[in-house]
């Protein structure tokens, strides 16, 4: 039997050897054709790439052009839509006089303090509820009910309790950050990969080991997603709080410009608010992606 299979193997290998050169043969006529296409493609690719790269700029440039022409021709009065050059000038003035730095640092300080308080409390609350089902049963329904009221709904309440000072801003920004951070932290505990838990149990981990070695490491990335969401919310509510009650900060610049009908100031401040928000969000996204990369590897190794 063994000999028979061996000869069969020999036979089956023999035609394969003869097949191999046959497979290679068609490559020869194919080569010149490929060389031709190689010559043509980069030019096309280059053109496509420049076109592709230019496309996203068309709309903003068209809008800017329309804005410029519209104000130049006087389709709209300067009070309603200041010319772009004017807005740019205001932005430059804001930077050179140091006003921008003063207001931006006030805003950043507020948002940082509020965010740190809110996310600290949020992570703690989420951890406590995630670790103990009993605490979750007691607290979560109340938490969910309170969450239904948006930050703006709390505003008059907080205004009466804390007055218009700094504490009001910290409290509202902290509240804005707290909600997503708590919910994401709690969710992180509910979504621990089951496989990992099973492995932990198979190795006879104690409850504590399961928490410190499995649950917490796998919860890092979702918690970070919560932090990013929390910061976005904090930044959003910072603008609202400063619009309504403050005497410095980026939101105040917007409110001040509106009161004096200086739309150039409003627009310049909106641009700054958008840019700072974008930069911070990108920073968080970058870290989040790195964390997620690490997380994706862990279950892969265990399988």
């Amino acid at each position: 039997m063994a000999r028979a299979t061996a000869t069969a193997l020999d036979r089956s290998q023999a035609p394969a050897k003869t097949l191999a050169p046959v497979e290679r043969l068609p490559n020869f006529p194919a080569r010149p054709a490929r060389r031709e296409s190689v010559n043509v493609r980069p030019r096309l690719a280059w053109r496509a790439r420049t076109l592709n790269g230019a496309l996203p700029w068309l709309l903003p440039l068209a809008l800017l052009g329309l804005w410029y022409v519209g104000t130049e021709r006087g389709w709209l009065s300067e009070q309603v839509l200041p010319p772009p050059a004017y807005v740019y000038q205001t932005l430059v003035d804001l930077i050179s006089t140091g006003d921008l730095w003063l207001n931006a640092s006030a805003s950043l300080q507020r948002v940082l303090v509020g965010f740190l308080i809110g996310s600290g409390l949020g992570v703690t609350l989420g951890l406590v509820m995630g670790l103990s089902k009993t605490v979750e049963d007691y607290l979560l329904p109340t938490f969910n009910a309170l969450v239904q009221i948006p930050v703006l709904g709390w505003m008059p309440f907080a205004l009466l309790l804390f007055g218009i000072g700094e504490p009001l801003k910290y409290v509202l920004i902290a509240h804005a950050a707290l909600v997503p951070v708590t919910l994401c932290t709690l969710q992180a505990f509910h979504q621990v990969p089951k496989r990992l838990l099973e492995v932990g149990r198979a190795y006879g981990f104690s409850q504590r080991q399961i928490v410190t070695d499995i649950v917490l490491p796998s919860a890092v990335a979702p918690i970070f997603t919560g932090l990013r969401l929390g910061f976005t919310k904090a930044w959003l509510s910072l603008v609202v709080v400063e619009l309504l009650a403050s005497s410095e900060g980026l939101g105040y610049l917007i409110a001040y410009g509106r009161q004096l009908f200086q739309l150039d100031l409003v627009m310049a401040a909106v641009v700054v608010v958008g840019t700072v928000g974008l930069l911070i969000d990108r920073g968080f996204e970058f870290i989040e992606r790195r964390l997620n990369k690490g997380r994706a590897m862990t279950p892969g190794r265990l399988v």
Partner: protein
């Protein structure tokens, strides 16, 4: 002992959710009625209930809530319709996506409320400005989720459509839209939530006319904590009701299209 045993049964833990709110109201009631604080801000729960009753029976509440809801829904519908259109264009056409996508992504980064001063100058303080702001709030999540849903149609589905020789139109109607529906629903659901938040914001920052937001402002300007608390409860309740409604609609639509809930 028997109570301890009953807490361990999974069914009887439902009462736990009520412990904190009931305790909270009890402490509040005690604090207000025993005079723990002289501050006029510590109003009793009865006072809040009385204010609520006055608001409801005098019709002020109905006027406020109906104008808030009318604003909310009209903004929501306009924003959702425009959002679906823009999202479909972004999702179906690569060229349009390259043209508009990056600008849109930059635009959506700008904090929503930062637009209010500009909107107030361009559209005034009336209902037009509020509806514009609300549609803006509803538009963004719808566009993002519609576009995402259409972009992330599983390639296997598209290949099947190609194998069966579907025309482009048939592929869109028969394959891409149904596959993207869950994501589109998520967008609409978010739009409903956001537009309620924005309704309060708009009434708060563009002060004019009736609305729940204005009730709150009245309360805080006249140091009437009872009115403020009443307004907050209403905002929370309406937000919750919209949430439940949207979720139920979402589930029904999913069942209608034979999609298993995520």
């Amino acid at each position: 002992m028997s109570s301890l045993a009953s807490t361990q049964a999974p069914r009887s833990t439902g009462y736990r959710g009520w412990v904190v709110p009931v305790l909270g109201v009890a402490v509040w009631w005690l604090a207000a009625n025993q005079g723990w604080s002289d501050s006029g801000l510590l109003v009793s729960p009865q006072k809040v209930a009385l204010t609520a009753w006055e608001q409801v029976s005098s019709g002020q509440f109905w006027r406020a809530i109906s104008s808030s809801l009318a604003r909310n829904l009209s903004g929501f519908f306009i924003g959702t319709a425009l959002g679906l259109l823009l999202g479909c264009l972004l999702g179906f056409s690569r060229l349009f996506e390259r043209l508009v996508g990056p600008s849109f992504n930059t635009f959506k980064q700008i904090s929503l409320f930062a637009w209010i001063p500009l909107i107030s100058v361009w559209f005034g303080l009336g209902d037009v400005a509020k509806v514009v702001f609300l549609s803006l709030a509803a538009l963004v999540p719808v566009v993002v989720n519609t576009c995402d849903g259409l972009r992330n149609v599983p390639p296997a589905f598209l290949e099947v459509a190609k194998v069966y020789g579907f025309s482009r139109w048939q592929t869109i109607i028969g394959v891409m839209l149904p596959a993207a529906l869950p994501s589109i629903f998520t967008g609409i659901y978010l739009a409903l939530v956001y537009s309620w938040l924005a309704t309060i914001g708009a009434e708060y920052l563009l002060v004019s006319g009736d609305g729940i937001g204005n009730t709150l402002i009245d309360g805080s300007e006249h140091f009437m904590m009872d009115l403020v608390l009443f307004g907050m409860v209403i905002i929370g309740l309406v937000g919750w009701a919209l949430n439940v409604l949207a979720r139920r609609l979402e589930r029904r639509m999913q069942r209608l299209y034979g999609i298993t809930p995520r």
